[in-house]
Subunit: 216 residues, 2 copies
Amino acid sequence: MPASTTHKRGDRAQHLAEALRFSIVSGELSPGVPLRQEELARRYETSRIPVREALRLLQAQGLVHLEPNKGAVVAPLDAAELRENTEMREAAEVLALRTALPHLSNAQIDEAAAIQDEIEASDVSEYGRLNKSFHMTLYGPCDRPRLLEHIAGLHDIAERYLGVALSQLDYVSRSSSEHRGILDACYARDAEAAITLTSRHILDAGRSLEQFLVRS
Amino acid sequence: MPASTTHKRGDRAQHLAEALRFSIVSGELSPGVPLRQEELARRYETSRIPVREALRLLQAQGLVHLEPNKGAVVAPLDAAELRENTEMREAAEVLALRTALPHLSNAQIDEAAAIQDEIEASDVSEYGRLNKSFHMTLYGPCDRPRLLEHIAGLHDIAERYLGVALSQLDYVSRSSSEHRGILDACYARDAEAAITLTSRHILDAGRSLEQFLVRS
DNA sequence: AATCTATAAATTGTATGCAATCTTTGATCT
DNA sequence: AGATCAAAGATTGCATACAATTTATAGATT
């Protein structure tokens, strides 16, 4: 069970950060929940030192809030952050898609389409993770590792907001038809259409989630 | 001299990260230089624990490369990163300026103008820092803290590339007239002009630096 | 009961210590 | 000389230890 035992010395903090990131993004750890160093160290069978380093990495990504002498809490959700996240994703993903499109092969679009098939066959609990895969697959050929990392980080945050709304909102079906539209535009190598559709896809999702957040 | 002695318990890592960030961005620490934990701990009068946490924060920002069991080095410079940085800044700063402009007061534009005066009166060694202040002042009213933090991080990286080129390139005078143009467009509340000029300002600077990098 | 206060418990921040890993050095061999 | 390799030294990764700080508890006071 303990995952850490199989890991090499030297990247415990990195792996811990990944594990915690998943727990936060998936909603398993709720916003505001305190993250006690000793408890995390016990759970992952290590000491507090790598835990603290992992928390610093998550702090930099904005998934964890760190207050001196008080400790870490899972970052809270608020409408203002969602709005920023949506706007930043729109800007970054449009850039990534525009840059990737000239190098995007049919095989890669097929790969994205296969992920979309999986989305439609899977439970909503898998939507966030698969949605990220779908988009990242299309952006992959842009050859901009830092841009991709930035987008991935923004998706992690967005996924938190999706998580709280997905079960209530009937969002997945609309998203699916939008994904199909993006795929068609990619196959047709219609850059403007692909970009416009992606932009709308992101902004509309943001608006829906924002409305949901404010209501509840 | 030791800055750490005046600092409260609990944010040593944060302050260390700021100090190191400045040293890296200013070029005082050259690309590729190894950052030894023990040495940094001695210099800042602390132990290796806060040093390690500071290095994690800088790793997340991309200013430091961390290899397990080998240690940290100041992140190297390369043309590909500069290109990404330029594109990402263009996207993010256009968004910030567009959002800030409706809330930008004349007093705030005056503030930016004063910084531009200072740029023109100062040594080139101050250009990077002041240039960042100039732009951030104009973006301030956008009320998007995470976007601003993102842009600030990108500027830190950009400043490293500026640093190596500024002494050779006659860049500052062109940049100054571009800054004046941006200020005029802001005073006139001409959003499209301000955005177009800012976009070009960023992209042109990127191109100049890229050419310089490739040549040398 | 509510508020304050002092103490104890919990938790964090940092220093130190030691084992694992990497790097250097110098001896040996070809 | 150059390559090879073992041992010493340097450096990192992590665990433990302890002090500083916060939080919880219980008693005293109004």
